[in-house]
Amino acid sequence: MTLLSVRDLCVSTAGGLRLVDGVSFEVQKGERVGLIGESGSGKSLTALAIVGLLGEGLRATGQVLFENEDLLAVSERRRCQLRGNALSMVFQEPMTALNPTMRVGKQVGEALRVHRGLSRRAAARAAVELLARVELPHPERCAVMYPHELSGGQRQRAMMAIAISCDPLLVVADEPTTALDVTVQRRVLELLDRLVAEEGCALLLITHDLAVVSEMCDRVVTMYGGRVVEVGPVERMVSSPAHPYTEALLATSLAVSIDAPSDGALPTIAGNVPAAGQFPSGCAFRDRCPRRAPACEETPLLAGDATHKVACWRPITEPVGSPAR
């Protein structure tokens, strides 16, 4: 059953600059979808547009169907009802995403007070239980602390506690571990994995790390230049990506794991992500692509079978590892 269906989502600035350009994908009930791409490819904006929290001056068009309800068309009041309830979000920066003047327990109980109408006392009790569920040591003590008394990893756990407090159907996690120490990243991801499994909810995980996605997700959506360039099941995307950009991302994340063959230099993707509005015409990845051809001057459309789609004029057809061409 389709839970979230994003159709032709565009996010543009007041000046008409398209930062997200015609993004479409679906998330099924209980499915885990990874949204990958470098910084500047529009994945965070896509996430914010889905939950309706775009910054001032940004406008979203298209459709975001959540349980057949178009979130872009409903009132802000209705969106407030859904946010934190059926649709919750975990942010990238745990250091700044908690109110410094509010005790952790009170903050964790906030969503429950908003959506379940819990009393202050009941919310405080529920918060302690939630903090225990996210494996914070001494949840009673943590509940009466201020955010600055917790570490980054602990704060991110508290954020996750808020996100799952109202039994969401979909959790949108925007690079939940990027701001954390490498040593705690893994444990926080394991926790997210377990919570999503326990809740049986769907997950939209935004990251640039394909290694993380390959462990946690069922399906992968690759974005570049504000467009979806490839969609497919995770096994397919990791073993034989069709888009050169997905392959390049894969190469960079595999090289970080210890057992990967290393010749000393870490693989990189040549060039930089251009600033918004400065992507080349046609295929946005054209200038950085090792397989570019004259055909790439025209925009490739997302095409393929029901499970796997790619937007590329010269997709990779051989599995990774075999010599190209």
Binding site: V51, L53, E56, R77, C80, Q81, L82, R83, G84, N85, S88, M89, F91, E93, T96, A97, L98, N99, P100, T101, M102, E110, A111, V114, H115, A124, R125, V128, E140, R141, A143, V144, Y146, H148, E149, M159, I162, A163, S165
Partner: protein
Amino acid sequence: MTAAPVEIAGACQRDRAGIRRWARNPSAAAGGALVGLIVAVALVSLVWTPYPPLAVDPSHSLAGPSWSHPLGTDQYGRDVLSRLMAGSRVSLYAGVVSVLVATVAGVPAGLLAAQWGGVPAQVVLRLSDVLYAFPALLAAIVLSAALGSSTTTAMLAIGIAFVPVLVRVTRSNALVVLGSDYVLAARAYGRRPLAILRRHVLPNIATTLIAQMSLLFSLAILAEAGLDYLGLGTTPPTASWGDMIQTAQNYLSQDPLLSVWPGTAIFLAVLGFSLLGEGTAELRNARLGRSA
């Protein structure tokens, strides 16, 4: 539930620790002591002063300090210490009324201006500019003429003059908080705009507001004294520090000390409230793990 006792015990510990931290912060301790002293004097003066502050004794006019009149007497032979004590009530009242007026009007206006943005915010801000441009003294004169000269009228004028200050301080600080990640997170868990202002924005700008309000409080005491001096505030014979300075001026050559006493009282009150505000802000920042 086992959490409750832990929570309560924790809170008590924090309270004791809070008092210790308070005592160790020089600004907070000195400010708290001065303000506490003034409040205590004002309370005592309600039930007891060495002499009735209005009792005239022509045989002892302009008598210098003595055992029976520690701070001397004024031109009507009224006991200066008694009048100084009674005058503290007027000063505190002045501060409370004007800061209350300014806060009740200015803080919500500033918060809403920050939240709304656009045209409504511009309207609020331009109105506050107009208020700011209007001379406070003139406002006081107009209000006194309309409502009759009294402490309350004078303080209403001062309070109104303070409104734009609080509007601006509130709005600019609220804008910063509204752009923060935790406000975004609060929206992400479904908090509505007004609740965000109350639960997230207000507590985070409280430090600045407290500091600003205590500064305004001390300014109000000064302004009240100034308006009394001009005859626009508290009307004689009620004892007020500003009025005492004004009358003392006529006897500066005969009894210079007469103006020193109320002057010192005003100085200490202003210093006390400024220090208290500064110290409170420092302590709150320290508790929330913020620097400066």
